[in-house]
Symmetry: C5
Subunit: 157 residues, 5 copies
């Protein structure tokens, strides 16, 4: 039985974990989900490390929604570096799923973007654990999470 860790925040303005978990469960079975909610984006790296060390998950989804101010951007950068450290030290994948408020025009689009991105990262999480060949088959195809795929620059035959 594999385990997927889901780390999310009270800072985010959308309950992205709810969408991620639903999408994970729609992918298949054979795994359990462990969730940890922390206050802010910068608390996610330690939450992930604890999910690995204490809850023995095989992979983490780190869901965050940094604010729009410049200070929020520096915070998001530090949080990203922390997720990187945690993942590299554990040698286990942490899929960073951040939605920056500035990426969307208005609240409806933001909520929709957050939902889709959480779902699509969840699908990737499932693939990494159970169907790595699905990823290999789409290498270099310009896939995106939340927005439409950019697509390949030129089909490679």
């Amino acid at each position: 039985m594999r385990k997927v860790g889901v780390a999310d925040t009270t800072f985010a303005r959308v309950d992205m974990a709810r969408y991620a978990i639903r999408a994970l469960e729609e992918q298949g079975t054979g795994f359990r989900i462990v969730r940890r909610t922390v206050p802010g984006t910068k608390d996610l790296p330690v939450a992930c490390r604890r999910l690995f060390r204490e809850d023995h998950v095989d992979l983490c989804l780190a869901l965050g929604m940094p604010g729009p101010a410049e200070l929020d951007r520096s915070s998001a950068q530090v949080a990203s570096m922390g997720l990187m450290m945690a993942g590299v030290l554990e040698s286990k994948p942490i899929l960073e799923c951040f939605v920056h408020e500035g990426e969307a025009n208005g609240p409806a689009e933001l909520a929709e973007l957050a939902r889709r991105r959480a779902e699509e990262h969840a699908v990737n999480a499932y693939a990494l654990l159970f169907r790595p060949r699905d990823l290999a088959r789409h290498a270099g195809e310009g896939l995106r999470q939340g927005f439409a795929d950019a697509g390949p620059v030129r089909r490679t035959h």
Copy 2:
């Protein structure tokens, strides 16, 4: 008996630890507080690591107030990265509670912001240790510390 570490500085212009400790004590019992005061913001990460290693605390509150100059901003960024390293290496939470002078208009607002943020991070610290489900219940609700909550983008039913 759990232990909460409080690290603060002589550089900050408000005694944020006083507010944080009072708020912690108002939350409940079952923990002891260990405080370490260091000179500057960049000294907080080592203070936190020592609180973990020597004082065996379960969580740290790192209270700082970086100055308004551009050099202060780079310093704050390095301090944040240091807190991240310390937390990830220990696999224990460090709640970074920084107030940047530029966030407030004038001294009265700055003092008030510092007090509220320290108190609200202290409440989060208590929740992380004793009531993690309180955090989970507020996932994605756009909670803020010091300023009014941003709130959820769209209620999720």
Copy 3:
């Protein structure tokens, strides 16, 4: 028998791994290739570390194509730092082969740049493993990957 790890993404818009692997195979024999495809650029460092730890490769090629937005640039910087951490911790080479969309004028040039850069990094990977003196012979010669060589500033006799 040496092993070369190839890490690539579904985010990239060109299947750079295909070119890198072909170029590697044209260099000679005596090695096996292990490939891991992950979703995004920031997932490459953990992929590389797993290639070292689980697949026992001697060197990794990390192929990525960060997007053109400013957020993509910060992501690329974090991914680069992660590759650096992974390489330094393992004490094994990770050749970062990133193509930034802004480096090329239009899709045809981008595809061509990605192909050439992947091939030329693959040649370097082979040299690092099997012919380190080839590199030493070209020290300080202003070699580039993907674009024309800059050349030496002044021939050194």
Copy 4:
């Protein structure tokens, strides 16, 4: 007998270590000073780590004076991150005492700033080792090193 490490550079334009050491000695007795001079600001982190590991010091003062160009600022940032890594890994304090040329108007002010900052960090170093309560008593009082104290925003009774 405690030990204080002093790391300084030939790059700095003021012999800050001389002032720091004199100020340390004026604080009291009960400690020995070990000094290591390195070429540049970026060499300070390794110098500090060696002071901890080979000379068994309890705390380091890292004295540097980054140049005024933009490249010097990036260098200073990397040096700061290195000091942070070294301190966090050792779990021992490193007081970073950097003077940036741009902080002062003209050479006389620069020399004076460097002297005062070195002295005041030395006083903090002594306090950290021998009188931690002195620091706690001044928590949140807006103390500065080199310039006049900013002072508390509002007296806290």
Copy 5:
């Protein structure tokens, strides 16, 4: 018998290692040089770590020449951070000797700057290993590598 590691790149446009090695040999005897040439600036940190771990050198010279584009500057920053990590983890000095193309006016000046900087860092490397007091004697004197010394701000008697 001490050992000096020299790491350089095929990316640089001047064979800086040639100058560094000659300058080292002019300083004296009692050491052996081990050289590793890698493709790019970001490959230097792993090269240095391997020089420490596999070749057992006591100190590394890391010679690089980042390009003039903005992407090159971010790369140089990541490379610097990697050298810092490698040095701090090993607790051994890595002298970073980078020449940025923008530092010189035209190719002749660039070649000359690269030669002088490589030579002067080599002299520092020798001093760090064999004559640390030479460095201590010049503490705070505003020494530079490649350009004229900035000199002390004010003589300290």
